[in-house]
């Protein structure tokens, strides 16, 4: 699908999570998402950015405005070179956490978006892609 805009942002410190939220908000407004959808995708981005930082040891996000069949959307790809996830099924379950969170990050982010995919294996890092369409 065609990409009309691409931004990259490193996720290295907790201020970067705030920057990811701001960037996601900016792109959501540009695409014309309604306020509730904006809030959902920004919240999902916040959860995933924190995962990248806390569990992946930092990484980056690629934020894009994409078009498909006359629809526009925001697509975010979070990538880290951290330890990876051995059991993705388990990681997506509410209440599962290996850290200090509530275990709502991955499953919650999935529920807040139209598209969600995750690629991860121990030792290779994690890549999570989400999209929200107008």
């Amino acid at each position: 699908m065609p990409t009309t805009k691409t931004e990259r942002l490193g996720i290295k410190i907790s201020d970067d999570v705030v920057r990811v939220r701001q960037l996601t908000r900016m792109l959501s407004v540009e695409v014309g998402l309604g306020l509730v959808d904006q809030t959902k995708v920004v919240t999902a981005a916040s959860e995933l950015a924190r995962n990248t930082l806390d569990y992946g040891g930092g990484g980056e996000v690629i934020a894009e405005i994409v078009e498909q069949g006359g629809r526009r959307g925001v697509r975010l790809t979070f990538e880290d070179k951290g330890p990876g996830i051995a059991d993705i099924e388990q990681a997506l379950k509410d209440g599962f956490t290996s850290g200090r969170g509530m275990g709502l990050g991955l499953g919650g982010a999935k529920r807040l978006c139209n598209e969600f995919s995750i690629v991860s294996a121990p030792g290779t890092g994690t890549k999570v892609t989400i999209a929200r369409w107008k």
Binding site: D15, V17, T39, G101, L104, G105, G108
Partner: protein
């Protein structure tokens, strides 16, 4: 490091979160509020989140923690001013903040705290009879 200001208002503490908080700022607020409840003998905590465009699981957990800790320290926490889009998103995220008292705005939140104080003073008076 930045801090969120905490105002004293009678025997209640008032916090208005005006900035997009990073995680350390949220954790600092939790710690600051806990010590201020004790040092000010506060009976209520009012947290105004009307300026917050996003409440994710970390900030949600912070609100939950503040409510739980303040309850143990005999103070009531009321969260006010949540935006409708934030409320919808929180529920979908799976965070229904069951331990947190909420009110639509600062006025109603203050009324809740005062009602509770009036109730407990009446109880005290009963005890003396």
């Amino acid at each position: 490091m930045d801090r969120i200001p905490i105002l004293k208002f009678g025997n209640a503490l008032l916090v208005t979160i005006q900035v997009d908080m990073h995680d350390r700022l949220a954790t600092a607020l939790e710690e600051d509020l806990t010590s201020r409840i004790v040092s000010n003998n506060a009976r209520g905590v009012l947290i105004d989140i009307s300026a917050l465009e996003v409440v994710d699981s970390f900030i949600g957990r912070m609100l939950d923690n503040i409510a739980a800790v303040s309850r143990i320290l005999d103070a009531d926490t009321v969260v006010v001013g949540m935006r409708p889009a934030v409320a919808i998103t929180l529920v979908e995220l799976g965070l229904s903040l069951t331990g947190v008292k909420t009110a639509l705005n600062v006025e109603r939140g203050m009324a809740m705290i005062h009602d509770r104080l009036a109730g407990s003073e009446a109880d005290d008076a009963d005890d003396e009879d």
